[in-house]
Symmetry: D2
Subunit: 276 residues, 4 copies
């Protein structure tokens, strides 16, 4: 069996030694290993891919017993993950994930797509994935989100992917799915927080635009950043041209962030990410 | 009516004046204008988007009469273009074009997909596009291409898009569709011409890989380059990792080149492109 | 003689024709030509490089007479430009300009370097350029700037280059040298306005950092952007690492913006730039 | 004391454990740690920054005794390195290194500059660095290189930096300074090997150009690549424009590769590099 072991804890001397000794004593092989010590926070991060005869429960207990107090240990056996996608009207991010899903590149099952408009039903159902249209018309945010949660909770999943879901989420919603929600924001954050970032970018006259994938927390557009990328533009771009050109960056950035999450390569701390 | 006027000819004094005078005398408005003079070849290139009451035949004749001998004038009225796609087994480029088509981003109709394997039938037919599997098994290249041509020629189209079509084309095939074929090559040409560029890149130990979209001419991988892009890699990438990471570059580069072609922004000369 | 002609005015039909006719009637040759119409502001921009027997005064008057009211016409004969540089302690931007100057790449003379610290005297004087140390110690901003202006005004110059000049400038100073001051800001504006952008970037956990060259106006870090570039970073970068890595981006971005200015390729309007 | 430990050897189970145990038993602290296993070559690479009371000789012997046969162990105490630079006429790469040297950014002393032309004497001597002009006029390659070697061998140094040294080196020269020579090639290798890569790039009509820093081995332009970067160009670039634009990439790429070398972050194997 091959498992991923993700450890984060306060830094102290000998951590690599103690952890690798434990693996060695269990006869386990380290296939891949990454460590990082954050000098400012005195935090130790380690991600190992190990193989051999592993009793996860036992390994986990022994790791906790040798690590400093407050440590987090995640031991992740091979398991196909599940995601749900939330969207609105734009199809480029959703479509990109669907194509990756269809050809086996996406290492996860898509359980459902939930949207506040019905536009993306046709595209979604082409790929035999349940589509739920939950209109927000006439509902306040609370009421709408209750319905979304009621639908989502019929499924099991590891991540919610906001594939251009164009509504702000209540703190209650975010809390309900803590650290599970990945969003794509259509700007190079922290520039152009909020609505219409391409218009903001156009008005500011920037020469480069970008996109940012991040975990969602209570502060709009302020969650831990997972991945960003940019493209060069010039004065000849209207904001609509920027929006059009930005679609390709958005979908690639979101796909890459999702890949990191599905491969268990992300640690979150201090509103930042460590990615191995 | 709004039309695009593309002119290329030997350079001489007064070309901008003479052409813009003609537009002015016809009461036409120049919406966009780009010019370029290649100093080495003494060649003049101009692309204008003009609007007004236009008799294309008349305008074309008058342009030819005022331009130097050997000039090329293309006047292109608004018209939805048509493409066919050739593919093999990999779906990322085809899928990307299909999604753009489905959401209206692609400014063309896809008439058909022709493939030498049957793997992509399901994906293609989801989007209600005819799929033709023309196996090359047991056929020599000539015979196979005859069958492909027989199928393609049942359709009208402006461009053939080779979306990871993994077979070399005979000069006869290329000649039959001169300047119509756009290919995506999975390397940063002219590095790694030929088969398995990712393996070649891995063996060479490069730190950046790329993709190249180009028109196809008789020399394999040596046609006029339309667009290129790259991504950074490091020693931890196997050639399969490169191939995987390269998929995103390939599809975006091909889509961008196709967009340039569909928008009539490309001039080809001296085995190079001028793109406005 | 070869001159550059830069025109911006309200857009109307026939501008390209009228301008190119004037050039043609004067027997002038258009070597290079770029136009752009801003659809939102209905503004026309044109930059031509023309050659022939030119009486600048006459040409200018005739251009004004055929252009809409409020037009700006700049006719720029070949002339070596002059710059002054303001700096503080960091040498990478100043040094980069000095090297370009020494090998003839910089198409301008450096008249003087003015700094609020004395650290860069040695480097500057190696290149036989006058260095003025004007300490701000014990002076309020007004008084300090008066002394800087008194020194600067002993020179003639086309541009002031703020090569990591780490003091905020009063509106009076900026007004005194309107549209002449080019600054390098060590972030990808508008992200991280103000002090310590690398610390801000570190705290926000961004995955890409950048630099921005812009004209200086009264609003700190909000002037028209000329050029930007970025580099990818990851969690292993301390803010000092970012600062270190950012130096290369800063100097290249500043050099490129200065090059655009020296080549008269920039139009400023609506707090943005058009760059041909 | 803080030292860097670089280990490469055949991969086997328990290496991380055994090495980290040794560090632990010596009471040493691991400040930074990077490992990589090349799956194809079954090679293990590890770079640790460790601190504590270290007897290098002892540590080295103990490491060798626990590692598989054929292992390489480098233990590098804090030591200011020395470099020599070889150049020809172009100053941008040399100048860039000199500026980094002058402001303390370069973590090495420049012992001398050796050039086959005298053009760069003035620039070099501004920074109080010995400049040796060794003309190749009237000499065959062997004879010229003998003189260069005679001059170089008067200095002690860790690296020879070819900062646009425009002559091919004999295998004897390369062998004499094995794995010490870092070159900057003005193309995105392996594209455009040999002379005039910008002309080659112009003729091929590429849309991106680049630069490559690599160790020099006997095969021209085929040594292990350390770092590469690229910039986007378009049809409006003459090959001279490319050359001009390429200068900035060349100098940054060379500086970055040199930094990796000075920080002992590079392993060379199979004509490739692992860089931590």
């Amino acid at each position: 069996m091959q498992v991923k072991v993700l450890i984060d804890c306060n830094d102290e001397k000998g951590l690599v030694y103690k952890i690798s000794r434990l693996f060695y004593e269990h006869g386990l092989n380290i296939e891949k290993n990454s460590e990082f010590v954050d000098g400012e926070y005195k935090k130790f991060f380690m991600r190992s891919v190990i193989s051999g005869e592993i009793e996860i429960q036992v390994l986990q207990e022994e790791l906790y017993s040798l690590l400093p107090e407050g440590a987090n240990v995640r031991i992740i056996p091979p398991r196909r993950k599940k995601i749900v996608i939330m969207a609105t009207k734009e199809s480029h991010c959703l479509g990109d994930i669907l194509i990756r899903y269809a050809d086996g590149e996406l290492d996860a099952d898509i359980e459902a797509v939930v949207a506040n408009h019905d536009d993306l039903r046709g595209l979604t159902e082409k790929f035999d994935i349940p589509f739920h249209h939950i209109s927000a018309k006439g509902l306040d945010r609370d009421e709408h989100e209750k319905r979304v949660i009621a639908t989502l909770d019929r499924y099991e999943f590891d991540h919610i992917v906001l594939a251009k879901y164009m509504r702000i989420l209540n703190p209650e919603f975010v809390k309900h799915y803590e650290e599970k929600i990945i969003n794509i924001h259509h700007s190079f954050l922290p520039a152009f927080i909020g609505a219409n970032p391409y218009k903001q970018a156009y008005n500011r006259g920037v020469k480069i635009i970008g996109a940012t994938a991040h975990f969602v927390n209570n502060m709009l557009d302020e969650g831990p950043i997972i991945y960003q990328d940019v493209i060069r533009i010039d004065h000849s771009y209207s904001w609509q041209d920027m929006q059009q050109a930005g679609r390709d960056v958005e979908k690639i950035v979101l796909a890459k962030a999702l890949k990191y999450a599905l491969e268990d390569r992300i640690f979150v701390y201090a509103n930042k990410t460590v990615i191995f």
